[in-house]
Structures are given as structure tokens and as C-alpha cells.
């Protein structure tokens, strides 16, 4: 029982309330760095580390932190993790760090992370909190990757730097430029909605069938 409850927390983040597709949170880093798949993944990983780590701390200390300064405390915790990530990346993979530029520090400000602390971690026991965080983070990663992939494929004719369509493919520059980010995410959301809609429709039909059979 307990086990699959936390499992639910995990799974819901990936699809049903995927932070990006369903809740539309934390899109700034999302859109900013996803002009290539590799950046997307790097960013996803970084965020995951921060989210999980801080969720763990916050939910452990949740009873010690007074309401009035909770936000400040959350932020301090998050910021610490981010600084850690920042320096680590800088040390290990300076190239990627250069690509992601100012957006690593900006993970601090990612609404998703803070939002989770407020909405979940600060209210539920550690285990659930971590599972929830994991789910969210993976969901975020998935979203980032799909966006990054689409943008890189169209915008550069490549995936992970591997050219897909031969040399003289005409790249869709816009995909790498800011507008591409917005438009692509918009279209992806469109498909997400469409899928949900179809699903609901299906469920409706089933229900109707049952009702009539009754």
C-alpha cells in the first residue's frame, strides 16, 4: 500500500501532471537551453539533482521552518544545491557549462522547483517528497529532451550533433532562435491536449456503453 502510493507520486509526475505539459511550470530554462538535445539532457540532469536534493532537505526539516520565512529558507537550500551543480559542471564539462551559460544559476529560480517545495515537500513525509520530486524531475527531463530533440532535428538537421539528412539539408534556423522555442512547445502542448482529449472521449464512450448496458 505505502509502497505503491509513493510509486503513484512518482508516476504521476511523468505523465498525468507532467510539470511542463500539464502544469506549465519552470519553462524558462526549458525553452532557453533546449536548442539542442544534449543541452536539454544536461539541464534536465542538473535540475533533477537540485529538485530531489532540496525536496529531501525541505521535507526533512519541514517542521522546523516557520511559515513566514519558508520561502527564504527553501531558496537558500535550493541555491546551495545549484551552486554545487554549477561548480561541478564547470569543473567536469566546461564545454556544456559554457553552452548552458547563465541558465544553470537560474535553476534556482525555476518555478517548478520552488513550486514543488511549497506544494509538496513542505507538507509530506520525506519518502513521498523524494518520490514526487523524482517523478517531477524525470517528467521535466522527458519534456526537455523531446523539445530539444525536435528543435535540433529541424533547426540543425541533426540529433546529438549527428547529421541526419545529409549535408545540404536546409536548416530551419528559427527553430534554434527564441520563436522556435515558443512555437515548438506550443505545438507539442497541442498534441498533448489532443491525446488527453482522445483519451477522455474514449473513457466517455466506455462509461456511456456501461450506462446503456445497465
Amino acid at each position: 500500500m505505502k509502497k505503491n502510493e509513493s510509486y503513484d507520486e512518482f508516476i504521476k509526475g511523468i505523465w498525468r501532471d507532467n510539470p511542463v505539459f500539464a502544469q506549465v511550470l519552470g519553462m524558462c530554462p526549458m525553452l532557453a537551453v533546449t536548442n539542442s538535445a544534449i543541452n536539454a539532457i544536461a539541464m534536465g540532469m542538473a535540475s533533477m539533482f537540485v529538485l530531489v536534493g532540496s525536496s529531501f532537505l525541505v521535507s526533512s526539516f519541514r517542521n522546523l521552518i516557520p511559515k513566514q520565512v519558508r520561502i527564504s529558507c527553501f531558496i537558500i537550500i535550493i541555491a546551495t544545491f545549484v551552486t554545487i551543480v554549477d561548480y561541478t559542471l564547470l569543473a567536469i564539462v566546461p564545454k556544456v557549462h559554457k553552452e548552458l551559460g547563465a541558465f544553470i544559476p537560474l535553476i534556482v529560480a525555476n518555478c517548478l522547483i520552488l513550486g514543488r517545495q511549497e506544494a509538496f515537500a513542505s507538507r509530506y513525509p520525506t519518502k513521498l517528497a523524494v518520490m514526487d520530486a523524482l517523478g517531477m524531475a524525470v517528467g521535466f527531463l522527458v519534456a526537455l529532451f523531446s523539445l530539444g530533440a525536435v528543435r535540433e532535428i529541424l533547426g540543425d538537421g541533426a540529433l546529438f550533433g549527428v547529421k541526419l539528412f545529409g549535408e545540404n539539408f536546409e536548416p530551419w534556423v528559427v527553430m534554434i532562435l527564441p520563436p522556435g522555442g515558443f512555437l515548438t512547445l506550443g505545438v507539442i502542448l497541442l498534441f498533448f491536449n489532443w491525446f488527453k482529449y482522445k483519451k477522455d472521449e474514449f473513457l466517455e464512450d466506455v462509461a456511456a456503453a456501461e450506462r446503456s448496458s445497465r
Binding site: 539528412f165 545540404n168 539539408f169 536546409e170 530551419w172 534556423v173 532562435l177 512555437l183
Partner: protein, 339 residues
């Protein structure tokens, strides 16, 4: 009630209508554009024809694919799709690969019209949205202007036209920077006569100012467009550049040059006037026009791009809801106020 009575129709007054209908309006605009189109064909030959056809095809396809076959029926019949395609085609460089033109038309309608709920509901000018997309997507292809190939006879096309879908074009034809490009980057001024009758580098439709104005006059007679918009735009541009000249006659273009060069006439007369995406209130249209004029000159003179009409119009499209909202007409018998 007796059985022999006719079954009466209940239809709300008024029962009278003036005879203009939306499809007729659109058709008029198309007619007005024909001369300029013809000129395009004359200068750029078959290439022009193909590009226009391609973009119209893209537009109509999108329209047909998405438009709901619901209560309003498919909106193909109202000509606006074709018009969008045509206008887009006229704003494209002659050397553009056809597949790009097609894509432009398609995106223009899909992104600029369908998702908003079809004709009348879009907030951005579909044709220009399509073009903006192309420009941002294929900046090089969209900014290489080829020389008119009148001398090579009508049926020749640029090899770049025929690039395979999604593939690059072989950069071949002798490029000719647009008058504005020349002005901006080489400080060369193109003589006015050429501008007015247009044996110059530039997009298909923008090359012959006189014919464009002709069409505009026709539309104005047919009451198909709101004269305030083109007038305010052109005046603003003229005044703006006149003022600049006072500072530095060397660096800055003359008013006439500013008015006749680039896509200004095409944009001011046929695109800024798109009723759907321009304000409905009289005062609003003035503001709208002046805004466009200023933005155009800003981008042309101080901006990175040689031409800014398209961006100016799109930007003012974005501002239109605000303009409309704060320029509500003063209601009869009420003091000044905005809704």
C-alpha cells in the same frame, strides 16, 4: 390559425442590406493586386508565376485541411485564403525555392489563421506571419535578391527555384542588393524612376510602386479598404525622413525614396489594411498607421535589417487589441471617455 396560411419566416430586422459581401471584398483586393502581379511576371518571368502559385497552393491546402466543415461550411469560398497566398507570394524574393514558398503559405494559414478559429478571428496578418516565419527560418534564401531576368525571356527560371524540398538551393543567380540594402550598407541611392516602375532587386510585388498605388485607388473607390491606414503610414514615413534629411542629407534617404522603396507601398496599401488585424475604430486606425510608419523608419534607419515593413505591421497587429480598447468612439450624447 387557418391551414392555408403560409409558414412565415421569423428573421430579425433589418431586412435590408447593402450589397457588399465579405467574399466580394476579398475578390476586389485580388483584382486590385493583378496589375502589380502582372508586373512581377513581366520582370521575373515564369519564376514569379511559379512562386505565387506555390504559396497560394500552400495557403489553400492548409485552409482546406483544417477549416471545419461545420455550420459555417468550409471557408474556402470566401477567397481570403487565396488572397493570403497571393499576398505572401508577392512579398517573396524571386529566387526563392518553390518548396519554401509553399511552406510559407501553409504555415501562414495554419499558424496565422486556422488555430485562431479561421477567417476573422486571427490577430496577426497571416500572409506576413508566413513571411516572418520564412525569413526567420531561411534568412539567407530570403535575403538573397536576384536580378530581374527579363532579357533571358519569360520562360526561364532561376535554378535556385527548383531546389529539392528541405534541401538548400544552389546559390547561382547574380544577386542584386535591394535599393534599401544598397542605401543602408553601401550608401548608394537608386534613381526614383527605377523605383516607381521597378527594374530593381526586390520581392515580386514590391517592385512597381505606381501599379500598387493604382490598385489602392481602385480599392478605395470600391470602399474595400480604410484609406486612413495607408495615408497615415505614408505620411508618417515621408515626414520622418524629411526631418532626418534636415540633419544629414548625405546619410538619410529622401521622403520619396523612403515611400517608394522596399515593401512599403505593398504593405501600407494591402497588408496594414487587412481589416481583421487592424483597429476598427477611426481614431485607432490613425494611431495604427502612425505607429507602423514610425517603426518602419526606426528599423530602416537605426535597425539591423534593411527593411522593416513586415515587422512593423506585425508589431502593430500585436498592439491592435490595446489600440481598439482605448480608442472606443465617443458615444452619442456622452462626454469623452473610453470603454
Amino acid at each position: 390559425m387557418s391551414k392555408r396560411d403560409p409558414r412565415l419566416l421569423l428573421f430579425h430586422a433589418p431586412l435590408l442590406r447593402q450589397d457588399m459581401t465579405t467574399p466580394k471584398v476579398m475578390r476586389d483586393v485580388i483584382i486590385a493586386l493583378l496589375p502589380a502581379t502582372a508586373a512581377g511576371l513581366w520582370y521575373f518571368g515564369l519564376a514569379a508565376a511559379l512562386i505565387i502559385v506555390a504559396s497560394i497552393a500552400g495557403a489553400v491546402l492548409a485552409e482546406w485541411m483544417f477549416s471545419p466543415s461545420g455550420r459555417r461550411g468550409r471557408t474556402l469560398l470566401d477567397n481570403s485564403g487565396v488572397l493570403t497566398g497571393l499576398l505572401l507570394g508577392l512579398t517573396l524574393p524571386p529566387g526563392l525555392p518553390l518548396w519554401m514558398a509553399f511552406l510559407g503559405g501553409y504555415i501562414g494559414i495554419a499558424l496565422g489563421k486556422v488555430i485562431w478559429g479561421g477567417i476573422g478571428h486571427n490577430l496577426f496578418n497571416p500572409a506576413l506571419l508566413g513571411r516572418a516565419f520564412l525569413l526567420a527560418t531561411f534568412p539567407i534564401a530570403m535575403t538573397t535578391w536576384v536580378t530581374p531576368l527579363t532579357d533571358e525571356g519569360f520562360f526561364s527560371v532561376y535554378s535556385s527555384n527548383l531546389a529539392w524540398p528541405f534541401m538548400q538551393a544552389a546559390p547561382d543567380a547574380t544577386t542584386a542588393a535591394t535599393p534599401l540594402g544598397l542605401m543602408k550598407f553601401e550608401q548608394e541611392v537608386t534613381p526614383l524612376t527605377e523605383l516607381a516602375f521597378g527594374k530593381i532587386g526586390g520581392s515580386l510585388g514590391e517592385t512597381s510602386g505606381v501599379l500598387l498605388i493604382l490598385g489602392g485607388v481602385y480599392l478605395w473607390i470600391r470602399r474595400a479598404l480604410d484609406w486612413r491606414i495607408p495615408v497615415s503610414i505614408l505620411l508618417t514615413v515621408a515626414v520622418f525622413s524629411a526631418i532626418l534629411i534636415l540633419f544629414d542629407a548625405e546619410r538619410f534617404p529622401t521622403p520619396l525614396f523612403s515611400v517608394f522603396s522596399g515593401g512599403l507601398l505593398l504593405g501600407a496599401i494591402y497588408m496594414a489594411t487587412d481589416p481583421v488585424t487592424s483597429p476598427t475604430t477611426p481614431r485607432g486606425t490613425w494611431i495604427f498607421g502612425i505607429g507602423i510608419g514610425v517603426l518602419v523608419m526606426l528599423i530602416r534607419v537605426y535597425g539591423g535589417l534593411p527593411e522593416g515593413v513586415m515587422y512593423a505591421i506585425l508589431l502593430m497587429n500585436a498592439a491592435t487589441p490595446l489600440i481598439d480598447r482605448y480608442t472606443q468612439p465617443r458615444v452619442f450624447g456622452r462626454g469623452k471617455e473610453t470603454a
